[in-house]
């Protein structure tokens, strides 16, 4: 147990730590500023002074993909448990305090991050920091917490996954896509491992990853960088860094050289469909161009009713109720590029898949519709205007990117990178990705229809 030690240090540091005279604030534009605390916490301030409200978010660079084998779901389980007691607060007191202050709070866990946030009147920011700093190091879990809350996460899994054949299918498809990386394990955990999660498992994860040098603090709304600096130094500054924090090198995917296929049957399936996921590069700090090209490619191919897949499959051939393509590139390790076709009644999954393949091949063959590409780029530029209306959305964008190995600069230049992408860039990036040998094709059926 390293708890005692880590607890002791802050008290000392409260009086002895230099007040970060050297941590300079960088003002990136009229909205975004950043600075670091001496203990390694990175701080991002996003200003919006239209209403006296702030969003306070603590992002940990730790998610389900950082779990060790055998304890899947522990990152998410711990997220639930962070609302239990600390040395000075009762179980449930955190959220209750936020609520009696008129705020709302919640948390979420993903593969690459765990994040906690509160939305409150801006004059309550200090209270949020005090409580968030407290639970970063002073959590006091009991066996009873584990037993009850484990039932809760299992009911959560029942609700999100077991009761939804589409979710069960997605889980199997992901497991087939990632042969070595933890992205193949569901964030909520495999049921049999969730059932055996113990107190020690959660504490081990907590001690390893919950430390200021593994966090990004994002404060968005009616605050100034000066205020955030003063308050964060007061409340987070005294926390000791974890000197044993290791860099996030996780098992990577081997060469994929076999096309994988899965067939998932469940009588609760009402609408059969085909989904194919290809392994794809993630948005990378050294190369955002590939990801930008893939994002635009996915939009052209399958986003909305003017997309290539939709035009061909829904409007011309009338073979699909719905057809789409998407790429989620903001992740620390390899991402995926996915296409889906939901056939109209009477069309078999076999024919639907063949049609999807034919249309993807055609897309790669014909020149890209430049009007369409320009419309997409224009919409992306406009979305920067609309984004200013929602600082919580902006805060999320920064949190996701920064926990995925990107920098503030990467985030801010992203619109320019997208703007500069040519049709050649798109075709090249897609050609590399659309390789069936690094893909999983899944059929979701009720088992009642003939599959061939």
């Amino acid at each position: 147990m390293r708890f005692g030690l880590r607890l002791a240090v802050p008290v000392l540091a409260l009086f002895s730590a230099p007040l970060s005279a050297f941590a300079e604030t960088v003002r990136w534009d009229d909205q975004v500023s950043t600075f670091n605390l001496d203990n390694g916490m990175e701080v991002v301030v996003i200003e919006d002074h239209r209403a006296p409200v702030v969003v306070h978010m603590m992002w940990y660079r730790a998610g389900s993909a950082d779990e060790k084998p055998g304890v899947s779901g522990v990152a998410h389980f711990l997220e639930h448990l962070l609302f239990k007691a600390t040395d000075t607060m009762e179980a449930g007191e955190f959220s209750r305090t936020v609520a009696v202050n008129g705020g709302s709070d919640n948390a979420f866990t993903s593969y690459d991050y765990t994040a906690y946030f509160q939305r409150v009147a801006s004059d309550r920011l200090e209270l949020m920091m005090k409580m968030e700093a407290d639970r970063m190091v002073n959590l006091r879990l009991t066996e009873a917490d584990i037993l009850t809350e484990r039932e809760v996460i299992i009911e959560e899994r029942n609700q999100r996954t077991e009761n939804d054949p589409g979710a069960l299918f997605g889980e199997q498809a992901n497991a087939a896509l990632y042969m070595n990386h933890r992205y193949g394990v569901p964030i909520i955990g495999w049921r049999h491992e969730m059932e055996t999660l113990e107190l020690e498992d959660t504490l081990e994860y907590y001690e390893q990853f919950y430390a200021p040098n593994n966090t990004i603090l994002i404060v968005a709304g009616d605050v100034t960088p000066e205020e955030v600096k003063e308050l964060s130094e007061r409340h987070y500054g005294p926390l000791a860094a974890n000197p044993d924090l290791e860099s996030r090198v996780r098992p990577q995917e081997p060469l994929h050289n076999a096309e994988r296929r899965i067939l998932f049957e469940d009588p609760r399936v009402a609408q059969p469909y085909v989904r194919r996921s290809y392994l794809a590069p993630a948005r990378d700090s050294e190369d955002q161009k590939t990801a930008a090209a893939l994002m635009l490619g996915a939009n052209l191919l399958g986003d909305g009713q003017t997309s290539f897949m939709s035009q061909k499959l829904q409007f011309e051939e009338k073979i699909a109720v719905f057809a789409s393509a998407f790429y989620r590139g903001t992740s620390l390790d390899d991402a995926s590029f996915t296409t889906v076709i939901v056939p109209v009644e009477g069309v078999s999954l076999n024919d639907a898949e063949a049609a999807m393949d034919r249309v993807i091949a055609e897309f790669m063959e014909v020149p890209i519709d430049l009007d369409h590409l320009n419309r997409i780029k224009r919409a992306m530029r406009a979305s920067e205007v609309y984004a200013k209306d929602n600082v919580q959305g902006l805060a999320n964008r920064f949190g996701r990117a920064l926990t995925s190995g990107l920098t503030v600069k990467d985030i801010l230049v992203w619109p320019d990178v997208v703007e500069g992408i040519t049709e050649d860039n798109i075709k090249t990036a897609m050609r590399d990705v659309l390789n069936k040998k690094s893909s999983v094709t899944g059929w979701l059926t009720s088992g009642a229809e003939a599959v061939q």
Partner: protein, 435 residues
């Protein structure tokens, strides 16, 4: 009792005067007489516009269930000048966004558009709102999409529960069936039916408008006249009132799935009832979000019987109920239901404490101004208020009304509104020990 204050009071004063929603609402009347609520804010060069038409999907004609919902889905599928894809291209071209939605009490249009091309965006939106062409090819395709959703709903335990509960509670009234219709009703809809649904619901006598963002009162007046002048003067008659008709008890809808979903409720309280604020606070204490409610504490936190349980007051235009939902594994849902029943009874027998009342007031009054968050959400709230018949002054008096509720009053109202012996549970799944 809980001691949730003790550790922090020394550092920060917890209960301070609640933030006020600093929202300056102007009432605008256009040259042609259309009215709107406007919040001008020129910080960001775009505006959000919201139109709400009272009545909504409950105005489906006899035998035409699903026609209003299908009509709303078809508004973006083409106008007199453009087909559906042409329309979508134009929307992208302008970087605007339009959403069309049908609910049981209204149909609504939400739009946002950049200041630099607002006139063009309004011209385009006008095509969808006032001159949709309901092309037969589009009707057939969108019907296919609705049918696909309906098929999925038949196998979704949440939808199955909703459908069974509403049918039993409201019978043949539109509230008793899903607004998407059935496979049979959808198949039978003709282009004429869709045109009727449009004329019946989107009329000048029932429209409410709000705009938030980079636009002046004068500009908004002109914009409304352009957008709405071609709509018919009147729509069809509003639906009748309906009483909640579900008797106490438990109904099980057998369905092979590991986790049961239970919907529960009984009759409720009208939005304009003088006791509404007291009931609203009680509802938050029993089953609301934000503060951990009694139901969450007892069913989830203490016993781990569910991931989520909630209940709330549903005050609709033609009926009102108290309703809630829980989901638990088949072998545990019976226990969850028992706890919910016990909490319902405890609320009535013991009432709420002064401390619960105070804390909930602080939460509700503090949270209220935080809702006014961004142009789109504000526009949405402003149309909702108008449709409920509230004055713009409500924004300033709402928290005073919450604070005015006394302990004596809330505990009297609880006995009128919460009816433990009337609760009906509709359970979908393979619940053990329930029949």
């Amino acid at each position: 009792m809980k001691q949730f204050f003790y550790s922090l009071v020394t550092v920060v004063t917890i209960i301070a005067a609640p933030l006020r929603a600093d929202i300056d609402v102007q009432e605008v009347t256009s040259p042609l007489g259309f009215k709107a609520w406007l919040v001008e804010d020129h910080t960001i060069p775009f505006m959000s516009l919201r139109l709400g038409f009272k009545g909504g999907a409950s105005l489906d004609r006899a035998g035409k269930r699903g026609s209003v919902n299908l009509m709303m889905a078809l508004l973006e599928e083409g106008t007199d000048d453009l087909d559906g894809r042409g329309f979508a291209r134009e929307v992208d071209e302008l970087a605007a966004s339009f959403n069309f939605d049908a609910s049981g009490d209204s149909v609504s249009v939400s739009a946002r558009m950049l200041s630099e091309n607002r006139d063009a965006a309004i011209a385009l939106l006008k095509g969808a709102v006032a001159a949709p062409n309901f092309d037969q090819v589009a009707i057939d395709r969108v019907k296919g999409q609705v049918l696909s959703i309906l098929q999925s709903d038949l196998k979704d335990p949440n939808e199955i529960a909703q459908t069974a509960f509403n049918k039993a509670a409201f019978g043949d009234h539109p509230y008793g069936s899903t607004l998407s219709g059935t496979a049979v009703s959808i198949e039978s809809l003709t282009r004429k039916d869709i045109q009727n649904a449009h004329r019946d619901t989107m009329a000048r006598d029932r429209v409410f408008v709000s705009a938030v963002g980079d636009i002046t009162a004068e500009e908004l007046g002109a914009l409304m006249d352009t957008l709405l002048e071609d709509l018919p003067e009147t729509g069809t008659a509003m639906p009748e009132r309906v009483e909640f008709g579900l008797k106490p008890g438990i109904t099980v809808v057998p369905y092979e799935t590991p986790q049961s979903v239970a919907l529960f409720g009984h009759r409720g309280i009208k939005r304009d009832d003088p006791d509404f604020f007291a009931a609203f606070i009680a509802s938050n204490i029993l089953g609301g979000g934000g503060l951990d409610s009694r139901l969450m504490e007892e069913v989830r936190d203490k016993r781990g019987l569910t991931y989520g349980v909630y209940s709330f007051l549903s005050a609709r235009d033609h009926a009102e109920l108290v309703v809630g939902q829980v989901a638990s594994a088949n072998d545990r849902v019976g226990a969850a239901i028992d706890v919910i029943k016990d909490e319902w009874a405890r609320l009535v027998n013991e009432g709420v404490s002064q401390e619960e009342l105070d804390v909930t007031k602080t939460y509700l009054t503090g949270a209220y101004p935080l809702r006014f968050d961004g142009n789109g959400p504000i526009a949405n709230i402003l149309v909702g208020m108008q449709m409920q018949g509230l004055s713009k002054d409500y924004i300033n008096t709402r928290n005073d009304n919450v604070n005015a509720v006394t302990l004596k009053e809330i505990n009297r109202v609880i006995k009128d509104v919460y009816l433990p012996d009337d609760l009906h549970f509709t359970v979908v799944g393979k619940p053990e020990g329930l029949e």
